[in-house]
């Protein structure tokens, strides 16, 4: 499923965090979004998952419905003390199929257990989520993502504070998703890791510095340019007239 950005500007209080960007995330592609802090990476994901309305421009989803887009927020702000069990959380992934009111079918329950087994947490199914470590919690969230069976997956720093082994397991899963024809877009910080695992990269510093094959985009010249452009907040910036020129 292709996502096309058409001259997209997204921001807060009229100040753009992502400024006039255009481009395409092709179907079944695996793209890393990298760039300096404040460069608009998370903002772009939030716009793509419909949390933020574009200030101008548009996003074309090629017919993908909002429920078919899965989103993993940065360092998930979930209350881990909430009295739910691990399997309860994984089963939420069936939401696009059950909606708010329908129960899970036997097959869906089975699928949830199977996925939990896959992340190596089958023994934790009935335990409360409060006992999970950060890495285990991220595995549970990936299990839920997987059950969502989404066409497009948007991951905001999925490996922050995660150890190497978990990162490796989860990255294998991401590549599997791509091979199954899903479009995966992840905000990343570790450039070496991106070079090793992501075929395409979008280098973003409020504007597009480069978008294409990772080897071409992550060159010294581009990275230096991104650093210099990194977004300052200009309190009394004049209105943008770029579209009128």
């Amino acid at each position: 499923m292709t996502i096309t950005l058409n001259n997209l500007t997204v921001g807060y209080d009229r100040h753009p965090a992502v400024h006039h960007i255009s481009g395409v995330f092709p179907s079944a592609s695996l793209t890393a979004i990298v760039g300096p802090n404040g460069g608009g990476k998370s903002t772009l994901l939030k716009a793509m998952v419909h949390f933020l309305r574009p200030l101008s421009g548009s996003i074309d989803y090629d017919g993908t419905l909002p429920q078919e887009i899965a989103y993993l927020p940065q360092a998930s702000q979930v209350d881990q003390n909430f009295p739910l069990s691990v399997i309860d959380v994984v089963q939420l992934g069936a939401w696009p199929r059950t909606g708010a009111f329908r129960g899970l079918t036997k097959a869906q329950r089975h699928e949830a257990y199977h996925i939990l087994e896959r992340v190596g947490l089958a023994d934790y199914a009935k335990r409360p989520v409060s006992v999970l470590s950060i890495g285990q919690w991220q595995r549970v969230l990936f299990a839920r993502l997987s059950l969502q069976n989404a066409h497009i997956l948007l991951l905001d720093e999925p490996f922050a504070a995660i150890d190497n082994r978990t990162t490796h397991d989860l990255m294998c899963w991401i590549k599997e998703w791509q091979n199954e024809g899903r479009t995966v877009i992840a905000v990343m910080h570790d450039l070496t890791f991106v070079r090793d695992h992501f075929p395409s990269t979008l280098l973003l510093a409020r504007e597009v510095i480069g978008w294409g094959s990772t080897a071409d985009i992550l060159c010294e010249a581009n990275l230096a340019k991104a650093q210099n452009l990194s977004g300052q907040w200009v309190e009394h910036a004049p209105a943008c007239r770029r579209d009128e020129r």
Partner: protein, 284 residues
């Protein structure tokens, strides 16, 4: 030896009334606590006071008019408090504390200008024995509808409380469920005010819910336990109030407070006992 009061009609009414409030109020309380909205519950309870006072001034000691006033005031303050929190930069708890102080002050002034000391006491501290059977039918209706609606919105409400971003990414209408939930809270506070008093109407919702946190980490068990605790402590409070001729609200709340205190000391999760006398650690 404690002398039990005569088991007459007013006592039965009082017990049925608190049973009804417990059945629907305690589950709502569990969600209030889990959503970190205990203070909001308190604010709504206190907001009922000026509403009932207005009903009293306009229509006399009619339960219908006073409850209607309470409902209107409860909804109004629930909405205003949400707006104030949303649109001002003052912290939520500060806004809420101000709201409930003002509500109590307003209500007490209105009542002391127009009512007798007994009216004031009944409204502030509750008088479960004064609940008529016609009122019980209305309360039974409120409880039934609350339990049904809560069962209906249970899953989206749980998700909205636990992971609102997930619900939002699923286009799950989180605001709708939040709104329905707040509506149920207001209605149940008004249902409870005659037995508990407006000063303590949130007591039967919140204290059993908080107490249950010390005993289980499973949501369904937590709700069941909160309901049982609410029923038992309110029955105990009613007996105490009837025997010693005290207002029912404080007796019920103190009974519930006793179970809370016990749980703080000896509960299974997060109690003082668990902290200072932990069980021997396991092998793996």
């Amino acid at each position: 030896m404690m002398i039990l009061p005569p088991f007459d009609v007013t006592l039965k009414h009082a017990l049925v009334a608190t049973l009804l409030v417990s059945l629907s109020g305690a589950p709502l309380g569990v969600f209030l606590v889990l959503r970190r909205m205990s203070l909001m519950g308190d604010v709504i309870a206190h907001a009922i006071l000026p509403g009932t006072a207005a009903g009293f001034i306009l229509a006399g000691a009619s339960m219908g008019a006073m409850s209607l006033g309470g409902l209107v005031a409860g909804f109004l303050v629930a909405i205003l408090a949400s707006l104030a929190t949303h649109f001002t930069k003052i912290r939520e708890d500060a806004n809420l504390a101000t709201f409930y102080l003002v509500a109590v002050a307003l209500g007490i002034l209105m009542l002391s200008l127009h009512g007798s000391a007994q009216d004031l006491e009944d409204i502030l501290f509750g008088n479960a024995q004064s609940i008529a059977s016609s009122m019980l039918i209305v309360m039974a209706l409120v409880t039934t509808l609350t339990v049904l609606l809560l069962a209906f919105i249970y899953r989206p409400l749980v998700v909205e409380s636990f992971d609102p971003l997930f619900l939002r990414s699923m286009k799950g209408h989180g605001g709708l469920y939040h709104g329905l939930f707040m509506m149920l809270v207001v209605v149940n506070m008004v249902e409870g005010y005659r037995a508990l008093g407006t000063l303590m109407a949130s007591g039967l919702l919140l204290i059993p819910a908080v107490t249950a946190q010390f005993w289980t980490r499973h949501l369904s068990l937590m709700i069941g336990l909160a309901v049982i605790l609410a029923i038992l402590t309110s029955a105990g409070g009613i007996f105490l109030a009837t025997t010693l001729l005290l207002p029912s609200g404080p007796c019920i709340v103190l009974m519930a407070g006793t179970t809370y205190l016990f749980s703080v000391c000896f509960g299974h999760y997060g109690s003082l006992w668990a902290r200072f006398f932990p069980s021997r650690h396991l092998e793996g």
